[in-house]
């Protein structure tokens, strides 16, 4: 199967680079609304993420099977970038 491009990335805003204020990891971010966020990590960024590292040092079973739900520092960086206008948020 061919991997195809998302029509929303072709016709709308692209993913944009953003550095996390905590660890400096560079990810790509896109917001389609205030409520909706996409984040593309690279393996390099994931390696740099402090929260991720902390989560995986204690990696065990548990009901979530070692799932890392996301980085709160990055989440905050994204909110700030959205409020600053660095990451555009389409008007609703």
């Amino acid at each position: 199967m061919t991997i195809r491009a998302d029509n929303r990335l072709l016709d709308g805003a692209p993913m944009q680079p953003l550095d996390c204020h905590q660890c400096g990891a560079e990810v790509e971010v896109r917001k389609a609304s205030w409520h909706q966020t996409s984040v593309q990590w690279s393996s390099q960024a994931l390696g740099a993420c402090l929260e991720r590292r902390a989560a995986h040092s204690g990696n065990g079973g548990g009901p979530d099977h070692g799932l890392f739900p996301g980085c709160t520092a990055l989440r905050e960086s994204i909110v700030r970038a959205a409020l600053d206008g660095a990451i555009p948020v389409p008007e609703e």
Binding site: R8, S38, W41, S43, G70
Partner: protein, 388 residues
């Protein structure tokens, strides 16, 4: 052909009509562990036929108690081994009694002095865990890697949880359709009558996760007595291409009900698959053993109803490689990019297929609250900075 015009994608673009595009279904089957269902059903002393991966397989229990999976066709004259009998550690062909071991080798031919060379058939690696039988499929023929092991399901072997309520149905379409559900946020409202308020997908490595918190829809439920269901919280992950474990909690006005839901499948061929659902429920003060068992069966029925709702759509829909998505839809393309890793050789798995991707929809946090949170954090940090 006179009088007919075939509209190609190019022509369609000049007319403004969106063309639906679809390549043929893949000719290979996904690399990964596939669940064949409750292992107990294969332990009745008989061989079992399983149609999977475009082939006919036989599952049989050898004398040592292990479950084995072989290609069902005897290499001698092509008879169906799943119609044969188990004799000790071996499976005996119904045609000429050739004896096949779980390793795929012919061990004995009762009427021959020796077994001919190359008397070997395909054997699948199997794994039994938490009352379930798994089979490893790899078109390249490599053994399973430990990183892709199916996690243990704690409640499956505990006394304070119910037994599995397990169900299987054949679905006549390619199994990509069931995978799309991982991201298809909006269909939960329209097809399954739930009301997601928080939704997140995470794809990383061989795992694809869906986190969803939803409210019950009063418009979809007959008013009645008894506890009122307020909503549910679900963390569901596909560990590989076909086996999803969903830690699912139902919230009632007077209790929380903890359950684990399995949603799994194996391809029968390119155009059909066997869809499995399994559920276990944890006992509680409000819902001791019998109550929990009854609830597990009730939920099982509810899940089957959900499958029926999906199947009704799948039966009539067309395969589409270029879905036209709106901003409110989930990450269908990114999910399919992740899914593609199981259909290429390991050497051809590209970083984009396995690198972490997140998609989040959070309707529970008003924008105002976000702003306040950021301001509070900035103030806190500024204060900390002054102290330092």
């Amino acid at each position: 052909m006179k009088g007919w015009v075939t509209v190609t994608a190019v022509e369609a673009s000049t007319t403004g009509i969106r063309a639906i595009e679809a390549e043929a279904v893949p000719t290979r089957f996904a690399r990964g562990w596939h669940c064949l269902g409750l292992s107990g059903q294969f332990k009745d002393g008989k061989p079992h036929t399983v149609n999977a991966f475009g082939q006919k397989l036989v599952v049989f229990q050898s004398g040592d108690g292990g479950l084995n999976v072989l290609d069902a066709y005897c290499r001698h004259m092509g008879a169906d081994l799943s119609k044969g009998r188990i004799k000790g550690d071996e499976l005996a062909c119904p045609f000429h009694d050739w004896r096949w071991g779980g390793d795929g080798r012919c061990k004995k031919i009762p009427y021959a002095r020796r077994v001919p060379l190359r008397a070997r058939t395909a054997a699948w690696t199997t794994m039994e865990q938490d009352g379930l039988l798994f089979v490893w499929n790899d078109p390249e023929g490599n053994p399973p890697q430990p990183e892709v092991a199916i996690p243990r399901i704690e409640g499956a072997t505990r006394d304070d949880w119910t037994d599995w309520v397990w169900q299987e149905i054949v679905v006549e379409t390619n199994c990509r359709e069931v995978m799309d559900n991982v991201v298809d946020m909006a269909h939960f409202f329209y097809v399954h009558y739930s009301f997601p308020t928080y939704f997140k997908n995470i794809f990383e490595g061989h795992v694809a996760t869906q986190i969803m918190n939803g409210l019950s829809r009063p418009d979809a439920r007959p008013p009645g007595k008894g506890p009122r269901m307020l909503g549910n919280s679900s963390v569901a992950s596909y560990h590989g291409p076909s086996f999803m474990i969903d830690d699912l909690t139902y919230h009632y006005d007077d209790m929380d009900l903890k359950s684990v839901l399995i949603n799994a499948h194996y391809p029968i061929d390119g155009n059909s698959f066997m869809l499995h659902s399994g559920i276990i429920v944890r006992h509680s003060d409000k819902l001791p053993r019998e109550g929990a068992e009854a609830m597990a069966h009730k939920l099982g029925e509810f899940i089957l109803k959900g499958f029926d709702q999906d199947v009704e759509i799948w039966k009539h829909k067309t395969r589409i490689d270029n879905p036209l998505l709106c901003e409110e839809d989930g990450p269908v393309y990114q999910l399919r990019r992740w899914y593609e890793q199981f259909y290429v050789d390991v050497a051809d798995v590209r970083p984009e297929m396995v690198e972490r991707f997140e998609f989040e929809l959070d309707t529970t946090r008003p924008v105002e609250a976000w702003k306040q949170e950021v301001e509070a954090n900035l103030a806190r940090r500024a204060a900390a900075g002054r102290q330092a």
